[in-house]
């Protein structure tokens, strides 16, 4: 008799031994099985095509929302800084930029502009 034959001969005895477990143990095993089944969640189908674990979709959705929430304060801070930088420019600097620009020759012929320029410089 080789090993496989010996194993095959022993198997029915082991099966019989397993079936002979006491009522108490059998009840406990059944309770454990039912508890495990309570924890089991049937796979769900996505778009009727792919079956995935029930927690998968919630996990994906949660992670997207979670990431958005993490980036939200950073985005708000950047937006605030950009807004402030636009509205807090120095007026003098703006004037200098304006005056340093090349004006069209017609501007100097314009009487009103020359009057304004004389007052501003004066």
């Amino acid at each position: 008799m080789n090993e496989n034959e010996f194993g095959a001969k022993l198997k029915p005895w082991l099966e019989r031994s397993a079936q002979a477990v006491g009522d108490f143990q059998a009840t406990r095993l059944k309770a454990a099985r039912l508890r495990a089944l309570d924890a089991f969640q049937e796979p769900v189908r996505v778009l009727g095509l792919v079956a995935v674990a029930p927690g998968t979709l919630q996990t994906i959705q949660y992670s997207i929302v979670q990431r958005a929430l993490l980036w939200l304060p950073m985005a708000a801070l950047l937006a605030t800084l950009a807004f402030q930088s636009l509205h807090e420019s120095d007026p003098g600097e703006l004037d200098a930029q304006l005056l340093s620009q090349e004006l069209p020759p017609d501007a100097f012929i314009d009487q009103d502009f020359r009057t304004w320029l004389g007052k501003s410089g004066g």
Binding site: F6, E15, A36, A51, A53, T56
Partner: protein, 196 residues
């Protein structure tokens, strides 16, 4: 362990049927290992729970190997935690390592009965229960790894590769453990005059 694309996942009923089919064997395996029925029940319960919670996305065909891996890990963890200290001594561990005084292969000389029907008479039933007790004791006395390999190969009917995965060892080790276990068991049963 990769799942083929489109392979259907285990349903609640499939999982239920599988657990119902394996729970008693798992319990006996655990009892053989930890020698404590209460601890064995806890181990099986933990293994069932883990399978249901963590591996809901697996097809039913993968459940036996997955469950065995979880169960063997749970038994190993039990020993690691040191909740139970083994106090038994093994006759077969010595026989498995040594045996120089008997060169004959017990598997070659072990008698095998052709049938293993349920005995009719009370005397026969008593005899069978004694045989069963002797077999249980012999299996229980095997060294842990030998018993694991033997149980997975010949009781759970996993192949060598699957057994190696479940045990976390090489296929060569599985073959060695199985060979030693079967020879040790055959030797003990022969010494007790037991025919299967």
């Amino acid at each position: 362990m990769r799942r083929a694309l489109g392979e259907p996942l285990a349903t609640r009923k499939e999982l239920s049927d599988f657990l119902a089919s394996v729970e008693r064997r798992a319990f006996k395996q655990s009892v053989f290992s930890v020698h404590d029925e209460e601890a064995a029940l806890d181990i099986v319960q933990d293994a069932m729970m883990k399978l249901a919670e963590k591996y809901a996305t697996r097809p039913p065909g993968e459940l036996p190997l997955l469950f065995q891996r979880i169960l063997q890990n749970a038994i190993r963890d039990h020993f690691r935690r040191g909740k139970v200290r083994s106090t038994w001594t093994t006759l077969l561990s010595n026989l498995g390592m040594g045996g120089e005084d008997d060169d004959a292969d017990p598997l070659e000389t072990l008698e095998v009965e052709e049938t293993s029907n349920v005995p009719a008479s009370p005397a026969d039933r008593l005899e069978q229960s004694e045989v069963m007790a002797a077999i249980e004791a012999a299996v229980q006395a095997l060294p842990e790894r030998q018993r694991q390999a033997f149980m997975l190969r010949y009781w759970e009917e996993l192949d060598v590769s699957e057994t190696a995965k479940a045990m976390g060892c090489s296929e060569g080790s599985v073959k060695t453990h199985c060979s030693r276990a079967t020879h040790a068991l055959a030797k003990v049963l022969k010494a007790k005059g037991i025919t299967l």
